[in-house]
Amino acid sequence: MTQIDSISLDLDLQAIRSQFPILSRTVNDKPLVYLDNAATSQKPQCVIDALSDYYGRYNANIHRGIHTLAEEATLAYEATRFAVQEFIGAASAEEIIFSRGTTEGINLVAYTWGRQHIGAGDEILISGMEHHSNIVPWQILCQEKNAVLKVIPVTDEGELSMEVYKNLLSDKTKLVSIVQVSNALGTVNPVKEMIDAAHAVGAKVLVDGAQSAVHLDIDVQALDCDFFAFSGHKVYAPTGIGVLYGKRELLESMPVFHGGGEMIKEVSFEQTTYNDLPYKYEAGTPNIADTIALKTALDYIQNIGKATIRKHENGLLAYATAQLESIPGLSIIGKAKEKVSLVSFIVKGIHPQDIGILLDNLGIAVRTGHHCTQPLMKRFGIPGTVRASFALYNTKEEIDILIAGMYKSIKMLS
C-alpha cells in the first residue's frame, strides 16, 4: 500500500484545494463554496489528467486486441480492479464487478440473485432511510415474486431501531439491503451488527456504500457482507463508473445479468457458455476511461489517508452543526450519535428550495429537496431539507460563508 502515514499531520488545505481546479471558479460573481459533496464530489487534476492521458495516449478496446495499445489499456483497466480490491478489503479481484454506479450494482443483484432466490412469501428487509435506488429494485422484485418488502423504522434522532430490526428478522428473511451511511441524514448505521444478525437467520446482506465509501474505512471481509455497492463519482472519480462487490461463491452461482460480448466463453445459436468472474457480469465494451481514472482517485484518497480526511471532515461537521444550531428557527434533521460530514436542516416557515435559490446567488452550492428519500421525508413530516455535505477540501471559512448566507436568506424570506 502506498498510504502515507499522515494521521498526525493536518491537511494542507491550500495545497489540496489547488489540486481541484473547479474550486477556483466563481458562481454568480462569488467564489464557489461547494457543499454538495454527497451528491457528487469534485475531481482532482490527477483524475482529470488520467482521462485525458488515456484518450490521448492509449485508447483501445480491452481484453481482445493483441496490439500494444490494447495491452496498455487492458493493464490499466485491470489495475483498477486490484486497487478497488484493496480499497474495500475484498478477498480477490474477481469479486470486483464494474458497474455504472451504486444503482446499477443494486439492480444487478435484484435481477440476478434476487430472481434466483426470492420466492412467494419471502421477505426482503430494507430501512426507512433508504435512497430510492435501494427501494425500487426490491419493490419491483417483490411485486414480481409475491414477496414481502419490510421496513426497519427510523427513530426521531435518525437512527435505525435495532430492536425492531431484530424482531423483523425471521427464517422468512432472505435478504437485508441496507444503507451504511444515510445520504439525507448522515447517520452511520451499525452494519456489522446488522449483518451478523441477518446471517444468524440465514439471510444475505447487501450494503449500499454510496455515501460511506468516501468517508469510512471499508473492509468487506471484516463486515462479512455478501454484497457491497458504491459509486466512483462520490469518491473523487468520474461519473459513470461504480463497483459491485460480491462474495465469490454467490457471484459464481448467480445467473448472468446482461448478455453480449465479453461475458461469454463460447457462443453458438444453440447455446452459450459464460465467461468466468468478473467478466461474466461485464457485458459489452466497458467504461474504460472512467474505470482507469477510478484507480487514480482511490490512490489519491489513500495517499492522503482516510483517517486524516475523516478527522478533518469530523471537525467540519462539529463546527457546522454548532453554528447551524445557533440560528433561530433552524432544526437539524438527523441527530445520530455517529454521523459523516453532512448536515440536513429545515427552517421554520421557509421552504428549503427558497433557501437553496438564495444561497446559489451567494455562490454556495447546497442540495435542497427530498434527496431521493421521499419515505424518509414523510417519516419526519417535511417536504425536504437543505443539506450541506463536506469533503476533504472544504474549510471552516466556507462554513462561515454558509452561516452568513443562511442569516441573509432567512432575513430576505421572512
Partner: protein, 147 residues
C-alpha cells in the same frame, strides 16, 4: 373589459426589473410578489390542479368568461410563487389566442430563465404548458359554440 396587451405587460415587468441593481433587490421584489399573491382557496387545491415539481408544488386553477381565460395559482415555495404571480399578471384575463401566442420572453429578460430550466425542481415550466393547454381547450370550446 379592456385588457392591456400581453407584450405591454411584459415590457413593464422588464422595465421594473431594469431598476434593480442587485440580485438582492430583484429577489426581494419576487419574494414580495409571492407573499402578496392571495393563497388559492382550498376548493381549488385539488389533485387535478396540482403540478408537482421535484421540490416545490404549484397549483393552477383556470376559468373562462366572455371569451377570456382567468388564472389563479399558488405554490408552497415563495420564490416560485412570486414567479407564478408574474405569469398570472401577464397571461390572466386574455383571449385564448393571445395566451397561445405569448412567447414570455420577459422571463429571460429579467434573468429568471434558470428557474424554468430546472424543470424537475419546480412546476413552473409545466405550469406555463398547462396555462396554454387551458387556453387551447377554451379556444376549442369557443369554436364549437360558434358553430
Amino acid at each position: 373589459m379592456s385588457q392591456q396587451p400581453i407584450l405591454e405587460i411584459e415590457k413593464e415587468i422588464i422595465e421594473d426589473f431594469a431598476l434593480f441593481d442587485s440580485w438582492e433587490d430583484k429577489y426581494e421584489y419576487i419574494i414580495d410578489l409571492g407573499k402578496k399573491l392571495p393563497a388559492l382557496e382550498e376548493e381549488h387545491k385539488i389533485a387535478d390542479n396540482k403540478i408537482k415539481g421535484c421540490q416545490s408544488t404549484v397549483w393552477l386553477a383556470a376559468a373562462h368568461e366572455d371569451g377570456r381565460v382567468f388564472f389563479k395559482a399558488d405554490s408552497d415555495a415563495v420564490i416560485v410563487k412570486g414567479l407564478v404571480s408574474m405569469l398570472i399578471k401577464v397571461l390572466s384575463g386574455h383571449r385564448p389566442e393571445e395566451i397561445l401566442e405569448a412567447k414570455l420572453d420577459f422571463i429571460r429578460e429579467i434573468g429568471m430563465m434558470t428557474h424554468l430550466a430546472q424543470t424537475r425542481s419546480n412546476g413552473l415550466l409545466a405550469m406555463i404548458k398547462q396555462m396554454k393547454n387551458y387556453a387551447l381547450a377554451y379556444q376549442t370550446i369557443q369554436g364549437l359554440e360558434k358553430k
